[in-house]
């Protein structure tokens, strides 16, 4: 075993690559024609998106009656998918903002990609409120708010807060992403030789010229944005959880929801980022930029947030018992041993038990195993939302209105299709923009910063 000097920070980028080689490597996917593998992947995601289009077509033509939603379970796959995708989006801002404030240098290799995933995940999530309204062709009337009757929106409603939170999150993430991309666009502008690309990069780089008088403000803005995005990322899933927690339904009406939802969102977001990055680093030869150490650190975060989620599951049961409220106690017993017990135990085994494997260093550093674990985490987190939404609704206070919910084939088409939508964007992203921040990675290469000798 080699001896590690713990007094020194480990290199974030392995092997001290020359700065110009980083340029070459990161801009390579943009400068070469897509290969066969890319088109195979794209055809798969586009086929999935085809299912999406058919599912939505059926829904729009025949109405939301094509879904399995029934009378007590009025919220089902649509809100489950919405919460799931918003949750996936949380890793990006966490990596780019919170880890930035904590000065975690290993974030540089994965930040750009995770931010991109945030944007695509929130876009996917935003589709669901739009399609679940029943007559989605009237969505155009939502913006700007039609106020012919002088009646204003209800500012005390968590659903309205949700609109503000998710749209703010989307816009701020987009700004954050773009600000990070400006210097990279300028680098690409200087590299490219074709006229059209040059015009495009010149437009988007805004004529950035790497001036230190600019870098100074740029770093300040990055700090400010990170400072704002940190509470923002915590607020988004908090407010999404308010959609449930502010109601009076047993199983939803709990104060533990905000932290529980945020932990779950980070958990599933990291799992998704890890899954995709494993492919990205292999396909584009980024193994020395997105290092095994980085993946291991992500697995550690999954272990922490997974344990927090497990704690929340246990605490929900404790509170149900301790509160002495009978409907609450019934709801939780019903979750674990009622008709939806299968979903509950899928959730517990995927979310609580599987990530505990990450206590072992060998597993944390084994790519195939960590990949499988993260897939399980994503499955489990989807089921968490399913369990929360469906079990509570299907059996509430009034036994006469209980009903079992079964999704239809259209529900599954839309679920699979949403993955197609998301991954299509991801694939196009890998070919259209640098998936690793060139400027940020250069700054953390060994000896890239002045040593300040003699000071």
């Amino acid at each position: 075993m080699s001896v590690v000097d713990h007094t020194k920070e480990l290199s974030v980028v392995e092997g001290k690559p020359a700065l110009r080689s980083l340029d070459d490597l990161i801009s390579k996917p943009l400068e070469t024609k897509p290969d066969k593998k890319f088109f195979i992947a794209l055809s798969i995601t586009l086929s999935m998106m085809g299912l999406f289009v058919i599912g939505l077509g059926l829904t729009f033509w025949y109405g939301v009656g094509m879904w399995g939603n029934n009378n007590p379970v009025g919220w089902a796959f649509d809100i489950v998918n919405f919460v799931f995708w918003v949750g996936i989006g949380h890793a990006g801002t966490l990596i780019s903002a919170i880890l930035f404030l904590f000065r975690q240098k290993w974030r540089t290799g994965i930040a750009r990609f995770a931010e991109g995933m945030t944007i695509f995940a929130v876009m996917t999530a935003l589709l669901f409120p739009l399609i679940h309204v029943g007559r989605p062709w009237l969505d155009g009337w939502l913006m700007p708010y039609p106020n012919q009757h002088g009646l204003w929106v209800n500012f005390t409603s968590p659903l309205l807060w949700d609109v503000f939170a998710v749209s703010t999150y989307f816009i701020v993430s987009l700004i954050f992403w773009y600000v990070g991309l400006i210097p990279d666009f300028a680098t690409l502008r200087e590299r490219t030789s074709t006229k059209i690309k040059k015009a495009v990069y010149s437009t988007f780089s805004l004529g950035w010229r790497f001036s230190n008088r600019h870098w100074q403000h740029y770093e300040m803005v990055y700090l400010i944005l990170a400072g704002f995005a940190t509470p923002l990322v915590l607020s988004v899933h908090t407010i999404v959880s308010f959609d449930f927690a502010v109601s009076i339904l047993p199983g939803w009406h709990t104060t533990i929801f905000p932290p529980y939802f945020v932990a779950g969102a980070v958990f599933s977001g990291f799992a998704m980022v890890q899954n995709v990055l494993i492919f990205v680093r292999k396909i584009f030869n980024y193994e020395h930029i997105i290092t095994l150490d980085t993946l291991e650190k992500m697995n550690k975060i999954m272990l922490v947030t997974g344990s927090m989620v497990g704690y929340a599951y246990a605490m929900e049961f404790f509170i149900a018992w301790y509160s002495g409220v009978q409907p609450e106690q019934f709801t939780f017993l019903n979750r674990a041993f009622g008709p939806y017990a299968w979903a509950y135990w899928i959730m517990v085994s995927c979310n609580v038990i599987t990530p505990q494997l990450f206590w072992f260093k060998k597993i944390r550093r084994s790519i195939p195993i960590m990949f499988v674990v993260a897939v399980f985490v994503n499955v489990g987190m989807w089921f968490e939302r399913f369990v929360i939404v469906v079990t509570s609704l299907s059996r509430d206070y009034l036994p006469s209105s209980w009903a079992y919910y079964t999704p239809t084939y259209v529900d599954f088409m839309i679920l699979i299709g949403s993955f197609g939508f998301f991954f299509t964007w991801i694939l196009l992203f890998t070919k259209a923009l640098p998936v690793v921040s060139i400027a940020e990675v250069k700054a953390v290469v060994d000896d890239a910063q002045p040593s300040h000798k003699g000071h």
Partner: protein, 379 residues
């Protein structure tokens, strides 16, 4: 070729330590208009260049606070002033419920404002016409070299001195950068007819498409606004019944829910004898009677039953309710007229329930007595 105008002298360095050293020397020498270009921000460079701290934090502070305040005031005005509605028994101005929206607006406004201020006011971007752009120097500093550029407009600028200064710093590839012809004659393209035309075109296209989508497209098939539904409309043909009628007669011997058959139709005298007002004369009954009278009766009979119609002759005025005849009618007769109609007055049995009609009868008595009070009432 006319004489070129000098923009700056540039020098290239290979390592971050060298450029920091050069920047320190440049600020000691007293240059003001110089800049350092690095592919990524270097730690300690701001100190070496003696740059004052960035003031962008103030922009975020001011805009963020204004955003929070604006959100609060707007929500207060909307839900407590302009159109107050009680929701869930909460106060009109329920501050805790406003906190999430206030927070989001703060973050959104501060983030947008800070970034826009930085890019467009602090940096004066977009600026692709800068002399340094499209130079070999820019190609290098955008990738792996570190450069310093001392501008000709600096007070201490002197070609020979600056060249010597850069040589003293061990800079490589010391070159002069000149303004290009287009850069000198550069005008903002915003006012060009082409650009204005483009803007107009975009505006017209956007508004046209929006108008078409929202006002035309949405009224074309298949968007039928639920006008066509799987149900039978009145007068429509039914394929279920043999006689083909969509509207069905009630099954014999049954009545609809909430419907009481009236058995004195066309027999005013019998109604007068047989019907007795079941309601007590109480404040609530009279208030109900007044409300229903004002709604259904007063348009023709007037608010005080004097036959002073508000219909301005479009409909014949009914006789006064204060006549000797009507005052001596029993309650049942008045009930009959309202329920069954009389002359051109239609039946009100579909608009009013039985109890409401009896309440109106009581109220009619109040009106009559108000105009023809008894001696005892006046004491």
């Amino acid at each position: 070729m006319s004489e070129k105008i000098l923009y700056s002298y540039t020098g290239i360095f290979d390592t971050p330590d060298e450029i920091i050293h050069a920047a320190e020397k440049a600020s000691e020498y007293g240059f003001k208009n110089y800049d350092v270009h690095t592919p990524y921000p270097l730690h300690g460079m701001n100190k070496a260049m003696k740059l004052p701290p960035s003031k962008l934090g103030y922009v975020a502070l001011v805009v963020g606070l204004s955003g929070a305040l604006a959100a609060l005031l707007l929500m207060f005005w909307m839900s407590a002033v302009d159109y107050p509605i009680v929701i869930g028994g909460k106060p009109f101005f329920s501050f805790p419920a406003y906190v999430p929206v206030m927070f989001e607006v703060t973050v959104l406004s501060a983030s947008i404002a800070t970034v826009l201020t930085m890019l467009f006011i602090f940096f004066k971007l977009p600026n692709n016409a800068h002399p340094l752009n499209d130079t070999l120097y820019m190609k290098k500093v955008s990738s792996d070299k570190y450069g310093i550029s001392i501008q000709a407009e600096d007070n201490k600028f002197n070609e020979a001195d600056v060249r010597r200064f850069l040589e003293d710093c061990d800079a490589k590839e010391i070159t002069a950068v000149y303004y290009d012809k287009e850069e000198i004659n550069y005008k903002h393209k915003i006012l060009e007819p082409k650009f204005i035309g483009f803007l107009l075109f975009t505006a017209l296209l956007t508004s046209g498409v929006t108008y078409f989508t929202l006002n035309k497209l949405l009224y074309m098939p298949p968007f039928d606004w639920m006008m066509e539904q799987n149900k039978l409309n009145p007068q429509a043909t039914s394929t279920v019944f043999d006689d083909g009628f969509g509207m069905r007669k009630p099954v014999e011997g049954t009545i609809a829910r909430g419907f009481t058959p009236y058995s004195f139709s066309g027999q005013p005298e019998a109604a007068e004898v047989n019907l007795v007002n079941p309601l007590p004369v109480s404040k609530s009954v009279l208030e109900l009677g007044q409300q229903k009278y004002d709604t259904f009766c007063s348009p023709c009979h007037g608010y005080y039953g004097e036959g002073d119609s508000r219909l301005r002759g479009q409909f014949p005025n009914p006789p006064s309710l204060h006549s000797e005849k009507i005052r001596t009618w029993k309650d049942g007769r008045i009930f009959h007229v309202i329920t069954d109609g009389q002359n051109i007055m239609p039946s009100y049995s579909s608009q009013l329930t039985v109890n409401e009609i009896w309440a109106i009868v009581h109220y009619t008595r109040v009106l009559q007595r108000a105009l023809n009070a008894k001696e005892s009432d006046l004491q």
